[in-house]
């Protein structure tokens, strides 16, 4: 790929955005082939954070493995836990009580907000707006406080158990959620005011990193990236789980599939998540928080693939059970990995300065890409 450059020879330049990078979202290495400022192609080298999670799963019991899943998408750990618990529960045919489902929804949506906040802060920082990151982290702090009050941990929460929940909600849980929702909606307005119509922001994001619906489906890209391309598809509506069919919310979509549209979609998702949280908190039923699950959890021989709408896309767990207490095979279908594959397509014809914006807009977490 690298070429000898003679004087005034315009061969392609190979530039390495190495695993350590100021605007990287983890340890991602991107090898760029440039013609001057234009990007001819990119190649991603991943695996710097590979920890063998799937192999570990084969050596732990189902309950023992649950904390490991938080560490994959560590920014939005609650969704990982939800997907895993749902997959294992599907294998064993466990019924989750309504109260547990409702609380799961609340925590998952709070987690979606937290994940998108981190995305917004870092994405804005990559593009050069250095202030939103502080505001976003201030908001994220409030969500993490709720998590901490609920289960004791901020980031890798292990909030759910197979069969339901471990902890009952604490006293002021509903009040905290409502306070947060009211406060947060105004903050979203602030972000929109700061960025949405800002000419520089629009100039940096409109028309950058276009991935249309065809390409999205071909690459298996899901989540906000797919919705920004015009495909109105959200697993929470298409194949509802965990009681989502009870809540009234919209699926934000845009038409062009560029970075600006993905920004708009995620900003709208803030508002929709707030809607869901409010409805869920208001309708929180009484009841047990855990279904009937034996202490030694042994699902029957079988396999199941369960996927959820994680903040980053379709997060799927394919679990194969051999009837023992340990999974025979646990496969995690990471949205970040599949979405990252489309980076090459999105960067074609972009300028070097856009590559960073595009990596940011896909919203990847290397823990999930590499597992």
């Amino acid at each position: 790929m690298a070429t000898q450059s003679t004087f005034l020879d315009t061969n392609e330049l190979v530039l390495n955005m190495g695993p350590q990078h100021p605007s990287t979202h983890g340890v991602l290495r991107v090898i760029l082939r440039l013609d001057g400022e234009k990007v001819l192609g990119t190649e991603c080298v991943i695996g710097y954070l590979h920890r063998g999670v799937e192999k570990i799963a084969e050596n732990r019991t189902y309950q023992q493995f649950a904390p490991y899943v938080d560490r994959m998408d560590y920014v939005a750990a609650v969704s990982n836990g939800l997907g895993y618990c749902m997959a294992v529960e599907a294998l064993g045919g466990v019924e989750i009580p309504e109260r547990a489902q409702c609380v799961r929804v609340i925590l998952t949506e709070l987690n979606r907000i937290a994940s998108h906040l981190l995305w917004l802060g870092t994405h804005a920082l990559d593009i050069g707006a250095m202030t939103p990151v502080f505001y976003c982290f201030r908001e994220r702090e409030e969500v993490l406080k709720i998590f901490e009050k609920y289960c004791g941990a901020r980031l890798t929460t292990h909030s759910f158990r197979i069969g339901g929940l471990q902890y009952e909600t604490y006293d002021t849980f509903e009040k905290d959620c409502h306070t947060f929702c009211d406060w947060f909606e105004k903050k979203v307005d602030e972000y929109e005011e700061l960025l949405t119509t800002n000419r520089i922001w629009v100039g940096r994001t409109k028309g950058v990193g276009i991935l249309n619906a065809e390409a999205c489906k071909a690459y298996g890209v899901t989540g906000p990236v797919l919705r920004a391309a015009g495909v109105e598809w959200d697993l929470r509506k298409a194949q509802p789980y965990c009681g989502y069919e009870k809540y009234d919310f919209d699926i934000p979509t845009c038409q062009n599939g560029d970075t600006y549209d993905r920004y708009i979609v995620r900003m709208q998702e803030f508002r929709q998540s707030v809607r869901i949280i409010r409805q869920a908190v208001d309708s929180l039923p009484e009841g047990p928080i855990k279904g009937k699950v034996s202490k030694v959890y042994k699902p029957p021989i079988g396999e199941a693939y369960v996927s959820i709408e994680a903040p980053k896309g379709e997060l799927g767990y394919y679990v194969v059970s051999d009837g023992s207490t340990q999974p025979y095979r646990l496969r995690v279908r990471p949205p970040s990995l599949v979405n990252l594959q489309a980076l090459d397509e999105m960067c074609r014809g972009a300028l070097v300065a856009d590559v960073v914006a595009i990596i940011g807009t896909i919203d990847i977490v290397l823990g999930e890409v590499d597992r």
């Binding site: 192999k55 030694v296 029957p300 021989i301 079988g302 396999e303 009837g323 023992s324």
Partner: protein, 285 residues
């Protein structure tokens, strides 16, 4: 825990050696030790119920589903009436049988009798019909487990099936490509493609078994997403995909020796030469 397992292992009457036609089968073995997964752990047979297994089925199916009835009932209730498969025929019949009838068949009443096969139901529908019409014998099984449809096909037929599903049945989204290792089987790997159709809102799995060294075709020409997914399968299992544009490792370093997700690769094993050479340390394990 172990004690529970052992008797069941012994009590399961069949010592069948299910052969390659039904993938995803565990070989009946001795006691099931729950040890690190590098040992061939599974001891219960879990065949996707297929016709040739009929003779073994009645023995296996009747005691086993009994105790699982409450949970199997639900997906069974959803499915269209299963008729032609004996195992399926068993289950509605077995469903009629009250649980206590299973108890005498089980050797130990207190521990629940777990099934030794995956209790699938047949999968019917227009999609099945069109697939059968198109591929006939190449697809050996159409089943459903827990409401999730899958089919088991011959390895050479897998990619044509994917292509057919994409072009004619609107399964335009390849969700995942993965594999499972059953070392005791004759064809040790089972490659799984999970597909989804936006138009129909349906998700199905296509499974095929591959022996050591057998190469499935690549789906990268049909679904671009298969590129990295197949690379990961190669990285973890050593299954090469014929025609893949860049069949190299993706997560592990390129020069790594060994395929970690295989069952004979221990959890503590590392490629010590690579570690010594590249990191200049002795691997701590």
């Amino acid at each position: 825990m172990d004690e529970e397992k052992k008797p069941e292992g012994q009590s399961a009457p069949e010592t069948e050696q299910p052969k390659g036609e039904s993938p995803a089968q565990f070989v009946e073995g001795a006691s099931a030790e729950v040890v690190p997964a590098s040992e061939p752990k599974p001891t219960e047979a879990v065949p996707a119920a297929s016709a040739p297994e009929k003779p073994a089925e009645p023995a296996a199916a009747s005691p086993s589903p009994a105790t699982e009835k409450p949970t199997v009932e639900k997906p069974a209730a959803d499915k269209p009436a299963a008729t032609d498969k004996p195992a399926a025929a068993e289950q509605p019949a077995a469903a009629a049988k009250p649980a206590p009838e299973a108890k005498p068949a089980a050797k130990k009443p207190p521990p629940k009798k777990v099934p030794t096969v995956m209790e699938v139901e047949p999968w019917e529908g227009p999609l099945v019909d069109s697939l059968k019409a198109r591929f006939g014998d190449a697809i050996m099984e159409f089943s459903t487990y827990r409401g999730q449809d899958f089919l088991v096909a011959d390895l050479p037929a897998a990619i044509p099936i994917l292509e057919f599903l994409k072009l004619e049945e609107d399964f335009d989204y390849l969700v995942d490509v993965t594999a499972v290792d059953y070392p005791k089987n004759e064809k040790r790997f089972e490659v799984i493609w999970i597909l989804y159709s936006f138009a129909k809102n349906l998700r199905i799995r296509v499974k095929a078994t591959a022996g050591e060294g057998e190469k499935p075709g690549t789906a990268a020409n049909i679904h671009k997403t298969a590129d990295w997914l197949e690379r990961e399968v190669f990285d973890m299992y050593g299954i090469e995909f014929e025609g893949h544009p860049n069949m190299t490792r993706i997560l592990l370093p390129d020069e790594w020796q060994g395929y970690p997700l295989r069952k004979d690769y221990s959890i503590v094993q590392q490629d010590e030469d690579w570690v010594r050479e590249n990191l200049q340390i002795e691997s701590g394990q």
